[in-house]
Assembly symmetry: C2
Homo-oligomer: 235 residues x 2
């Protein structure tokens, strides 16, 4: 947690109260904050501030803003990922948000177990987004969208994002071309499930304007591939 993210309505007065048990635990046990300490606070979907802690009580830490700080820029990358195993979902969403993707789309794919769509963790996506923002020091939540049917997504949604200046890349170990490096255009990046997309899916994405690109002959876990490729695409 590199900032504490508060709701807009919590930052209206001259002094702001932090009362969420999760945030209090971090401040009191991990950071051991005391009155007079400085603390970075973000207002969700708003500004970010350096603040001073004015009081520390068991169920409340109060701060007052000292100065405004800048918010990190988002990447110009729309990330599309096959819905991962529930166990991996939290970390994947959190990391994608931390890395700064502008939009996150979780899609179905042949090798996504249908039961994954029933996990209660999907109801906690906004919590994972918050964790990612707090890690990055960001306040602006990217949109997270679920697409439970592969074909309509690829045929109807995906093509709207693609143009000669806004390419879409699908990471695919058997592609002939190498994932580009340091690009300066907005793009869509598509990453498959464990075991990869099946040939039919790669074909359908290519028919709808995507370029299949490999990232070498090492097979990475989905989460590792996301940060590795975002690092490669960035400039």
């Amino acid at each position: 947690m590199n900032i504490v993210l508060l709701e807009q309505e919590q930052t209206q007065s001259g002094e702001w109260a932090i009362e969420s048990p999760r945030q209090l635990q971090h401040l009191q046990q991990h950071l051991q904050v005391q009155a007079g300490d400085q603390l970075k606070i973000g207002a969700r979907d708003g500004l970010r501030y350096l603040t001073e802690v004015t009081s520390v009580e068991e169920h409340r830490v109060c701060v007052r803003p000292i100065q405004q700080e800048s918010i990190p820029d988002k990447l110009s990358v729309r990330l599309v990922v096959a819905l991962p195993r529930p166990k991996v979902l939290r970390r994947l969403v959190m990391d994608s948000v931390t890395l700064g993707v502008s939009h996150l789309h979780l899609i179905h794919s042949y090798r996504v177990d249908k039961s994954y769509w029933q996990t209660p963790f999907l109801r906690q996506l906004q919590d994972y987004v918050t964790l990612g923002l707090e890690q990055a020091g960001d306040t602006i939540a990217p949109e997270v969208t679920l697409h439970q049917r592969f074909k309509p997504f690829v045929e109807d949604v995906l093509p709207q994002w693609i143009s000669p200046t806004q390419p879409a890349f699908v990471a695919h170990p058997y592609a002939e071309q190498t994932m580009p490096q340091g690009i300066d255009t907005p793009c869509t990046l598509i990453i498959g499930p464990e075991g990869g997309f099946i040939p039919y899916e790669v074909d359908l994405m290519q028919k709808n304007g995507c370029q299949a690109m490999h990232i070498g002959n090492r097979i990475l876990r989905t989460e590792t591939a996301i940060s590795y490729i975002l690092g490669r695409l960035g400039n």
Copy 2:
């Protein structure tokens, strides 16, 4: 698991037996292998093969080699990371190996809790290396070295790796220069603990030939930073 890694002595005859409970569980429960299936097998620190499953029993799966396959290249990156929390250690080592670093060095740093050096997980490093190799489809284990004292490491060990054609980069959010991109020389990459290196440590590394480089104004988790920066440095 994208290959099954066997010890050299397990691959001496014409038919090889897989008997490790962990590997058997993956083959039987996850892949549901049957006689006649093809399976990728690596001989530790040796070659990699496409094989055919010849028999499946409860405590043993047998295969025979069909053809030799190529092993993925390593990155020309020596990775130095501050010892992470025990909970993170497994994934960090596994991912670094999967990504293909040539050497992995775990070092002490001011913000590394001394208790981390006592974790029993440090005795399982070779297991984590195996998991990383099996994920990547690699057979050659990188060396993993522990350095429990920061200053002797930075003053005596680190300088030996640095030359005009072999730079060392320390990731540091307050550096003025940006981490380079797509470099074609071998290099050393140094990544700090949660909370970062302290100024004294960054100074000492700089005095000993390291270049401090930032990766933008988002603060990434250690593991995320590793794959993000390796993606950025690769070419």
